[in-house]
């Protein structure tokens, strides 16, 4: 079969808020869902200044560790669980996603993956998205191979801290405390 070259990535530019936000974007689950938590944080740049024109997107398994997706080899969970969150940052660089903790996932080699959420961040001044993962400080992350593959001194940037009834996950694009970003 002939291979097609991929279309290149380009920046979302400064006016992404025309096209990408949805009213229900931040709500992976509706308000009032049992176990729902807000994950909030700030996106900041290489000088620590907030990034007010970024978009944070999240993708995750449901609480039982399943996906409503045909490529899950364990079988598609016909649950209607959207698994997706999307929130633009405000003028203070803040975003918020209301969700439930994803389940523990098999890693495929006999082990488990700790509860995690995949994250894409887009912004003006970023020609491609950056990809990161959210882990949770009050969960058992000890056996997670992805987290273990990250230099020890930087692991904390992937772990959301308990804050009020939810979690805090800041994204530092560059510089001191730079978030770990992945090539996927």
């Amino acid at each position: 079969m002939g291979k097609l070259g991929s279309t290149p990535s380009q920046t979302v530019g400064p006016y992404l808020s025309i096209g990408l936000p949805w009213e229900d974007g931040p709500f992976v689950v509706p308000e009032g869902t049992e176990g729902a938590v807000w994950i909030r944080g700030t996106v900041s740049d290489g000088e620590g200044a907030p990034v007010p024109d970024a978009l944070v997107e999240t993708w995750q398994a449901d609480p039982s560790g399943r996906f409503d997706h045909p490529d899950d080899p364990r079988g598609r969970a016909e649950s209607g669980f959207r698994g997706f969150g999307r929130c633009p940052t405000d003028e203070r660089g803040e975003y918020g996603i209301l969700t439930v903790l994803p389940g523990i996932l098999p890693s495929g080699d006999g082990g488990d993956q700790a509860r995690h959420i995949d994250v894409s961040v887009f912004a003006r001044g970023m020609l491609s998205r950056v990809v990161t993962r959210i882990y949770f400080e009050d969960q058992d992350n000890s056996g997670d191979a992805v987290l273990a593959s990250v230099p020890e001194g930087r692991r904390a940037t992937l772990v959301a801290a308990k804050a009020g009834n939810g979690y805090r996950f800041d994204v530092r694009l560059q510089g001191e405390g730079e978030t770990v970003f992945f090539a996927v």
Binding site: S9, Y15, D71, R74, D109, L127
Partner: protein, 244 residues
């Protein structure tokens, strides 16, 4: 890929070097403080990466793919049809998948508080569209051709006319935001965003082509823009099954 515990996951090929822009690109000044300075860590493709949001049905309104009919009057400008297919790198159509676009009006002005350059807003144009791909991966929008506009990246800087496109593909690995350009734009040469793509052939893939056949007589010009997201590695487990 088959694993000892029987989790058989598709695997998405990396794109060839030069397909995508570097995050640190001096010509585009805003990248300076917004690119990771640390090396990226390799994330193996596991369950969360080979799945992804399947969005669309229920998210579209009647005129979402016709940006000329979202108000009581018609917008100013050259009416165009933009159509194409969403494919993976093996030419497989991605069906029932959400395509989102946003763009400036005919005069190159965005409906956004941050856009203040002296070109008027059009009361009949918002510049936002959504469509769902069909069974062949095909999408279609009716809109107006966006104008070029100035920005402050360098002296007398102008963005070539473009439409922003956002697609999901079928997996987290395939998520893509890009820009569609128009053929023979004289502004390409001075635009760092367009020229941030190292590979010349890849860069050309962002340029739509004029589609005479798809034009509508006495009504609209047409441009064709296929969007290709990463294909899969040749399926190891399918081969294994063949050998069984």
């Amino acid at each position: 890929m088959a694993t000892p515990t029987g989790l058989r996951l598709p695997r998405y090929r990396p794109d060839p070097e030069g397909t995508h822009p570097p995050m640190d690109f001096a010509g585009y000044r805003s990248t300076q403080l917004r690119h990771p300075a640390q090396p990226l860590v390799l994330l193996p493709q596991m369950l969360t990466e080979v799945t992804g949001p399947l969005l669309g049905p229920g998210r579209l309104g009647e005129h979402d793919n016709d940006l000329t009919r979202q108000h009581s009057g018609e917008p100013q400008g050259q009416r165009i049809i933009v159509t194409g297919r969403l494919l993976d790198g093996d030419g497989r159509p991605i069906r029932d998948s959400l395509v989102e676009i946003w763009q400036a009006n005919a005069g190159g002005r965005y409906r956004h508080t941050g856009d203040r350059w002296p070109s008027p807003l059009d009361p009949n144009f918002d510049g936002l569209g959504r469509a769902l791909t069909d069974g062949d991966g095909r999408y279609e929008f009716t809109t107006i051709k966006p104008g070029a506009y100035p920005w402050k990246n360098h002296d007398n800087a102008w963005r070539p006319a473009h439409i922003h496109f956002s697609v999901f593909g079928a997996a987290f690995t395939q998520r893509l935001v890009t820009q569609m350009y128009f053929p023979d734009d004289p502004l390409f040469g001075q635009d760092p965003i367009f020229n941030s793509i190292p590979d010349e052939k890849a860069r050309q893939r962002m340029i739509s082509r004029f589609d005479l056949e798809r034009t509508e007589e006495q009504w609209a010009l047409a441009f064709r823009f296929d969007i290709v997201v990463r294909g899969r590695e040749q399926s190891v487990f399918e081969d294994e099954e063949d050998e069984d």
